[in-house]
Amino acid sequence: MLQSFCPITSRQTVGANIYVLSFRSPQIASTLQPGQFVNIKVSESGIPLLRRPFSVYHTDGDDIKIIFNVIGVGTKVLASKNVGDVLDVLGPLGRSYNVSDGYETAVLVAGGLGVAPLPMITKSLDRRSKVLVTFLGARSRDHLVTTFLENVHTATDDGSEGFRGTVVELLRSILSANSFPQPKIFGCGPNVMLSNLSRLAEELSIPCEVSIECAMACGIGICQGCPIEKVNGEQKYALVCKEGPVFNSRSVLIV
C-alpha cells in the first residue's frame, strides 16, 4: 500500500451520469490486481472529510482508471476535476479476485457500476487456458458500459437493450441452456444482486467470488468501520477493506 499524488490525465463521460477518470500512478498501476481498490481524497478543503473508495476499472500503462456515477458530494467534486489536477490516492488496497486457478470458464457478472472490476479481470485472464463469458445488467441501455469487456450478454430493467430483467435472471437462463466447462463466477454489484447471485451459485454448485461495496473511512483496516458478517469462523465480522472487498460468496452474509 502506497500513498501517491497522481495527476489526472483524462476525464470522460461514458453514459448517463457516468464518468471515467484516469490518473497517473506508476507504482500503484504496476502492482494492482483485479478487484483491488484505491481510496481517494477528493478534496483538500475537507469537504467531504473522508476519502472515497473506488474499485480500479482499468489500467493503461502508468494510468489507473476509475468509473463512477455522480451521486453525492464526493463524486460531484471528483467529476468537476480537470486534467492536471492532482489526487491524493492510497492503494492498491484490499484482497483481489483469484483469477489464476481452479476453473476453466470465467463467468463475469455485474450489475450497474459493479462493472468496475470486470475489465481488470478480463485483462488478466490467461487466454491459453481460460474461456470468458460476461453478463452485464443495468437500469437501461444508457447505463450499460461495455467498454473493455468481451463476449457480453446484457440485461436491462426496462428492456431497452438485451434481456428484459435482472442480470441474475439472465445468467440463470443461459446457464441452464448451456454447459460451460468448469465455470467460476466473478461478481460485483449492489448487495441485493450479489445476494441473488450467491444463491444461484450455491444452487448450481459453481464457485463464486463477489466484490462487496461498503462505506469506509480509512480503507486500510484501522477504523474498523466496514464490517460484514461471516458465515462461520472465529470472528463474527470481516472487514470489507482488508479481508475483502472480494470474498468467497459462501463465506459472508450479504444483506
Partner: protein, 314 residues
C-alpha cells in the same frame, strides 16, 4: 534545534504528538506509510479482557466536517495483543500506551495487571468514556465517583504512567479531572467523542445500527479546545488534548490552551501520515517564531483584554 520533548507522568515523549486509540490499530497496520518512530507515542486500540466482535454495521457515518462511529470496541483481546502485537511494538522507538476498556472494575484491574507483567508498555490510558457499548464505557465515565474509584484501584496496581480518558458528555468535565487527579492519575486525555446521531430520511431510520454514536473530526475541535482549557485551569496534572486535530496549527491551539501533548484521531483515517505531519509542523512553527522548546508554549494563551482582531474571514 527546537526542543520538542514533553513530559506526561513518568513518560518523556520525544514530541507532543500521539495517535489516538482506535485510529491507528495496534501500530503495525500503518507502518508502510508512516514512520512511527517519529511520533511521541502510540495509544493502542482499546484492549478488553476477551476479544470483542464490535457492533453490527453500519458503524460509521460521515457528517458535516466530522464522522460518527459506533465500532463498539472491536478488538482482539489482551492475550492476543500480548502475543501477536506487542513483540512488534517493542521494536519501535516510540512510547507505547495501552488503552484499556472494560465493563467492570475487576476487568479493568485484570487487564492492566496482565499488561503490567509485560515488557514494552510504557503507560496506560483508561477508556471510561466509550459511548458505544451497553455496559461499562460511558456509564462509568459519566459517574464521577466511579471514574475516581477505577483510577484509585488501578493506581494501586501499577507504577507506570496512568492516564484517564475523559468524556465530554457530562456537565462539568473539570470535576471529573479533579476527581481522577486526586485519585492518583498522572494525566487526563480530553476529550473522547461526543454522543451524536444521523437519520436517513428516506427510510426514517438511524444511520448507525446503534442509533447514536461518537462524533469526531474537525466538527468537534472548538468544543474539545474549550474542554481542554477548562480542565487545564483546574488540575495540576498534564492534559492531553484530543478532538478534531487535522494540522499542526490545530495542535498548537491545544498546546496554547494548556495541553502538554495532543492525540491525532480521525485525521489518521484521511491521511495515515497526518500525525507525523503535525509533529513536523509544530517544529516549523517553533522555528519561525523563535521558540526554543515546545514545553514553553503550553498554557500560554494570552487571556488579556486586548483580543486579537479578526480583520477578515480567512
Amino acid at each position: 534545534m527546537v526542543d520538542t520533548q514533553t513530559v506526561i507522568g513518568d513518560l518523556i515523549l520525544k514530541n507532543p504528538v500521539l495517535v489516538a486509540s482506535g485510529t491507528f490499530g495496534y501500530g503495525d497496520d500503518c507502518k508502510d506509510v508512516v514512520n512511527i518512530n517519529q511520533l511521541g507515542g502510540i495509544v493502542t486500540k482499546s484492549l478488553s479482557l476477551k476479544p470483542r466482535d464490535g457492533n453490527p454495521p453500519p458503524r460509521i457515518v460521515e457528517t458535516a466536517s466530522g464522522m460518527l462511529n459506533s465500532i463498539g470496541l472491536a478488538n482482539i483481546g489482551v492475550r492476543k495483543f500480548i502475543v501477536e502485537k506487542l513483540p512488534y511494538l517493542r521494536t519501535t522507538q516510540t512510547k507505547i500506551i495501552a488503552n484499556i476498556a472494560a465493563s467492570t472494575i475487576e476487568e479493568y484491574c485484570i487487564v492492566l495487571s496482565m499488561l503490567d507483567e509485560e515488557e514494552g508498555i510504557d503507560g496506560y490510558e483508561i477508556n471510561v468514556s466509550c459511548p458505544n457499548v451497553k455496559e461499562g464505557g460511558l456509564s462509568f465515565g459519566t459517574s464521577c465517583e466511579m471514574t475516581a474509584e477505577i483510577t484509585r484501584r488501578l493506581r494501586t496496581l501499577t507504577k507506570k504512567t496512568l492516564i484517564i480518558k475523559l468524556t465530554p458528555n457530562v456537565t462539568h468535565i473539570s470535576e471529573f479531572a479533579r476527581a481522577v487527579a486526586d485519585a492518583g492519575a498522572d494525566a487526563v486525555s480530553v476529550i473522547n467523542t461526543l454522543v451524536g446521531m444521523a437519520v436517513d430520511i428516506r427510510i426514517r431510520k438511524p444511520k448507525l445500527s446503534t442509533v447514536t454514536g461518537g462524533l469526531s473530526g474537525p466538527a468537534i475541535k472548538p468544543i474539545a479546545l474549550a474542554k481542554v482549557y477548562e480542565v487545564a485551569q483546574s488540575v495540576n496534572i498534564p492534559v492531553i488534548g484530543i478532538g478534531g486535530i487535522m494540522t499542526a496549527e490545530d495542535a498548537i491551539e491545544f498546546l496554547l490552551v494548556g495541553a502538554s501533548a495532543v492525540q491525532i484521531g480521525t485525521a489518521n483515517f484521511i491521511d495515515p501520515a497526518a500525525s507525523v505531519n503535525v509533529a513536523d509542523g509544530i517544529v516549523r512553527y517553533c522555528e519561525q517564531n523563535k521558540i526554543e522548546s515546545v514545553r514553553s508554549i503550553v498554557g500560554t494563551l494570552q487571556a488579556s483584554k486586548e483580543l486579537s482582531v479578526v480583520r477578515s474571514w480567512q
